[in-house]
């Protein structure tokens, strides 16, 4: 079975995601050696209807570390690149601690 892709949103244009959560998640993701995508700010990309969102939305099973799942789903939709309801899991860095996010992203393969 193919491992889900990982997408990390840095939410750089607002301070709504705790800085320590972002740093912890990003640090452990990069240390894992697994391939992943990181973007500066999904909201900003959605506002520009950035064509790069198509590549991110169209990749099969995906785990997204960002904010509230409802917001992420409709951000992609509003930009014209809806994500599938199946196989996409959104992990909310605004509310969950870094440990929970990282284990959700990396599962058993965490290093």
């Amino acid at each position: 079975m193919t491992a889900p892709r990982i997408l990390y949103c840095h939410c750089a244009y607002a301070k709504v995601v705790p800085e320590e959560t972002k740093q912890e998640v990003l640090g452990r993701l990069s240390a894992s050696g697994l391939p992943f995508e990181a973007v500066t700010d999904l909201c900003e990309m959605a506002a520009r209807k950035d064509p790069a969102l198509e590549r991110l939305a169209d990749g099969g099973p995906t785990k997204i570390a960002a904010c509230f799942p409802r917001a992420v789903k409709w951000l992609f939709f509003g930009a014209g690149f809806p994500i599938s309801d199946d196989g996409v899991e959104v992990l909310n860095m605004r509310e969950a601690p870094a440990d929970e996010i990282v284990s959700g992203l990396l599962g058993e393969v965490e290093v």
């Binding site: 840095h10 607002a14 640090g27 391939p35 995508e37 990181a38 790069a52 409802r70």
Partner: protein, 267 residues
């Protein structure tokens, strides 16, 4: 540093290989993301392409930045003005297409696409103003960078949907029985509306409401100062209705023209 080329296209940095320790990896990643670049961490370098800059994890951030600047084609002479990406995001599972947001928003953020409400001018939205989400009777409008739920995208609870209470607040804010005025748009009603009001009392009432609403609804001064008058709202509602009517007529006209017999098809 600006994250895009002069033509507006963006580049992506692909980081691969290299023996960098965890802290160096994190520093490089954070720097590139703060610069506004998308980053792919890959096990192996992809094929080169026009929108990709390849770099190794063990290269210094300065070296990678220089390569990015070279790819972008300029050293940013005039940094782009900072724009906090603040705009409404519609939850179409909840939206009933009532168009209240379109009617309420003064800044033409909303439009209609294929007969559905649509966010069309994101950058017109007033930063930190969630006012349209508060007039939405279904709590279908989100601002993902807002601090509180459900506007930030958190789950909508039954108590979050308080459309009638909100209508009363907005009506008071505008200094009169706005929704009644919208329902009875006859000349007589307009005349009564204008003559029965005590202007100084209305102004005081409006100021009091503005202060209260600013606190309750978290609406910035800039937006409160430019809120529409009852007349403005009425005019916008009229334009929206006309637009919808024209659209309906066009749609009907297309249906009427649709061939129904073989003769109609020219067979």
């Amino acid at each position: 540093m600006s994250a895009h080329r002069l033509d507006g296209t963006r580049i992506r940095v692909v980081l691969h290989d290299g023996d960098a320790d965890t802290s160096q990896r994190l520093e490089t990643l954070t720097a590139l993301l703060e610069d506004g670049h998308s980053v792919t961490c890959a096990a192996a370098p992809p094929d080169p392409s026009d929108d990709v800059v390849l770099a190794r994890f063990d290269e210094s951030t300065a070296t990678i930045r220089a390569r990015v600047e070279q790819k972008i084609g300029r050293v940013d002479p005039e940094p782009s003005p900072f724009w906090k990406p603040w705009f409404p995001v519609i939850d179409y599972d909840r939206c009933t297409n009532c168009m209240q947001c379109l009617t309420f928003c003064l800044f033409d953020v909303y439009g209609v696409k294929e007969e559905k409400i649509d966010v069309q001018n994101e950058s017109n939205c007033k930063t930190d103003c969630p006012a349209c989400s508060r007039v939405c009777p279904e709590a279908a409008i989100m601002f993902p960078k807002y601090k509180k739920g459900p506007i930030n995208g958190d789950v909508v609870r039954p108590e979050d949907v308080q459309s009638e209470a909100m209508k009363v607040d907005i009506s008071t804010l505008l200094g009169g029985d706005l929704y009644a005025a919208l329902r009875t748009r006859s000349d007589e009603a307009r005349k009564r509306f204008s003559t029965e009001r005590d202007e100084s009392k209305a102004l005081l009432e409006r100021k009091r409401c503005l202060k209260k609403l600013k606190k309750q609804l978290d609406i910035p001064d800039e937006v409160l100062m430019t809120l529409p008058s009852a007349g403005d709202i009425e005019e916008r509602a009229r334009r929206a209705r006309e637009k919808a009517k024209r659209r309906g007529e066009r749609s009907q006209s297309v249906k009427d023209k649709k061939p129904t017999t073989e003769d109609d098809w020219g067979i």
